[in-house]
């Protein structure tokens, strides 16, 4: 599969959304709404659930399943209040010693008037520093599109995993082609050069694990439950200081050895 095919697969309408992942992997999910400041962003789904016997906080970006839900979730592009809601829930997770699991599927943080006016940049920046200092295990899973800062804002984690057909990039291939080459028809080429597939990213040391999609999604969900459970238990066993030091070093080393 070419890079562009992965991009298309990651965006496919029939790809499972956040709610399917949540209800297939976890039990007892209770959704909790709002950023206590401005609004409840429906693109960001947050709440508490159980991963087998472990209570966990879930922070997920939801694109929606049909036109109606996609309109309500703004097609999975969160506003600043979405990131503030996510950070609020992650801080609560820390308070109660719950691990955090983030599920990421977004073309990017929303680019609009309201989003800018309410500080999209500041909201993402706060999420980055907030997650970096979170004194509880954090596991991020890219399920579909990982669009730039809007995805990274939920991916400052102890480990970052990707589904086989998920993509993760600094910019969309379309955006890259039009900005760099002023030529939207060179999208395929941009996709290739951006190194945005799960395999590329594992080679670059940006992600830890790729979840195969060779079987149907029922099996993907089962495997995720198994592997997430094992990993979260391992992370819970680490002393808190070590957890945060490892998280810092995980990002510290990327691009840290100039040639």
């Amino acid at each position: 599969m070419q890079a562009i095919d992965r991009v298309l697969a990651a965006r496919a309408n029939d790809r499972p959304g956040a709610s399917q992942f949540i209800h297939s992997i976890f039990t007892d999910f209770i959704e909790l709404h709002g950023d206590r400041n401005f609004a409840d962003d429906r693109a960001m789904v947050t709440g508490i659930a159980k991963l087998r016997d472990i209570p966990v906080t879930i922070v997920a970006i939801e694109k929606g399943q049909d036109t109606k839900t996609r309109l309500s979730t703004n097609f999975g592009s969160p506003h600043p209040e979405g990131y503030r809601k996510a950070l609020r829930q992650m801080k609560l997770a820390e308070k109660f010693g719950r691990p955090v699991i983030t599920l990421i599927d977004t073309s990017g943080a929303f680019c609009g008037l309201g989003a800018e006016e309410r500080g999209q940049g500041e909201a993402i920046a706060s999420s980055l520093t907030g997650m970096m200092s979170l004194n509880t295990p954090v596991l991020a899973l890219l399920t579909g599109e990982g669009g730039s800062g809007g995805a990274l804002a939920l991916a400052v984690a102890d480990e970052v995993w990707m589904l086989e057909n998920a993509v993760y990039s600094v910019i969309s291939p379309e955006g890259c082609a039009s900005i760099l080459w002023k030529d939207a028809s060179r999208t395929e080429e941009a996709a290739r050069h951006l190194k945005l597939t799960a395999q590329d990213l594992q080679q670059l040391g940006v992600i830890e694990r790729i979840i195969s999609e060779q079987n149907d999604f029922e099996q993907v969900f089962a495997e995720l439950q198994e592997t997430m459970y094992d990993r979260i238990r391992g992370l819970l066993d680490l002393p808190p200081g070590e957890l945060m030091e490892n998280r810092y070093q995980r990002f510290r080393k990327i691009g840290g050895t100039p040639l």
Binding site: L113, S126, L128, M132, S169, V170, H193, K195, L204, Y248
Partner: protein, 292 residues
């Protein structure tokens, strides 16, 4: 026409490739007229430089070379540069990146889009960084991320405040995901420096955008901005394409951000040194002021 050709007119500052301001540099005479984008007055370039790249008539703030800015802000002879020799390489095999780096180095006379070091301002020692628009529009790749991270680590080790002048189109596309990761990396360093109780003041210059706005530019204890600076996450053109209408005048300007509560103060360049000095003084702890 020479005067007009010097500044190609991009629709907005993010569309300019960053090298446009000095494109004519090698083969033109020293004294040139520059037309102020704001008041349309023709200014002699030497006069503009002498006035620290601020229009003498309407006070429009032009981009200031990163090194000139540090030398202007820091006490004379106090600046010692760190990691000056660090240069970028094409890490992911991106087309034309190597030649773009070469051009940027020639155009700007600098090795990368940020200059870091240790200096003093009004006698107060600090770590300082300043971003360079003529180096690929101040974009953040792994070297920019690494230099800023190291600066915050140095500041933490030595117990120094950090003063940072941000000016950037955002993450550098040509380094793909590795650029994006620098947002997390620099944020980690800022956070650790902050957790030790040290001060970080950012001064947001025109433009500060994308991944730089969404990381260290907006993570400071005190955020100042230059008058009229464009400060945004998504650039004006991207938003206009999304909402299919023109943005209101002054949207995403420094003054607009202050009104919306995202900037502590808009400070003209001529007053920045005094303001920084006073802020550094006001952040002295008891053992520092009581000891004098």
């Amino acid at each position: 026409m020479l005067k007009r050709g010097l500044f190609k007119k991009p629709k907005n500052v993010l569309e300019s490739s960053g090298d446009s301001t000095n494109k004519a540099a090698p083969s033109v005479p020293d004294a040139l007229f520059i037309t102020c984008k704001q008041c349309k007055t023709q200014i002699i370039s030497d006069d503009l430089e002498k006035n620290n790249y601020v229009c003498p008539l309407c006070t429009k703030h032009f981009p200031m070379p990163a090194r000139s800015r540090i030398l202007f802000m820091a006490d004379e002879g106090s600046f010692v540069e760190t990691d000056a020799q660090m240069i970028s390489v094409d890490l992911i095999g991106f087309p034309q990146y190597t030649s773009k780096l070469e051009t940027a180095a020639k155009t700007s006379g600098e090795n990368e889009a940020v200059i870091c070091g240790i200096a003093s301002i009004g006698g107060f020692p600090c770590c300082i960084f300043s971003m360079e628009s003529r180096f690929m529009m101040g974009s953040m790749g792994t070297v920019v991320g690494e230099k800023i991270t190291r600066l915050f680590e140095t500041a933490q080790k030595r117990g120094l405040p950090v003063i940072g002048f941000t000016l950037s189109g955002g993450a550098r596309m040509q380094e793909g995901i590795l650029s994006l990761m620098q947002m997390a990396k620099t944020s980690g360093a800022v956070q650790r420096h902050s957790a030790q109780g040290h001060l970080y003041i950012s001064v947001l210059c025109d433009p500060t955008a994308g991944g730089v706005t969404a990381s260290f530019a907006m993570e400071s204890d005190i955020a100042l901005a230059e008058p009229g600076a464009l400060i945004c996450f998504a650039g004006p053109r991207v938003i206009e394409q999304t909402i299919r209408q023109k943005l209101p005048e002054g949207f995403q300007s420094a003054e607009f951000l202050r009104e919306r509560g995202f900037i502590d103060e808009v400070v003209p360049r001529s007053e920045q040194k005094e303001t920084l000095q006073r802020l550094l003084m006001l952040h002295q702890r008891r053992e520092e002021y009581a000891g004098n």
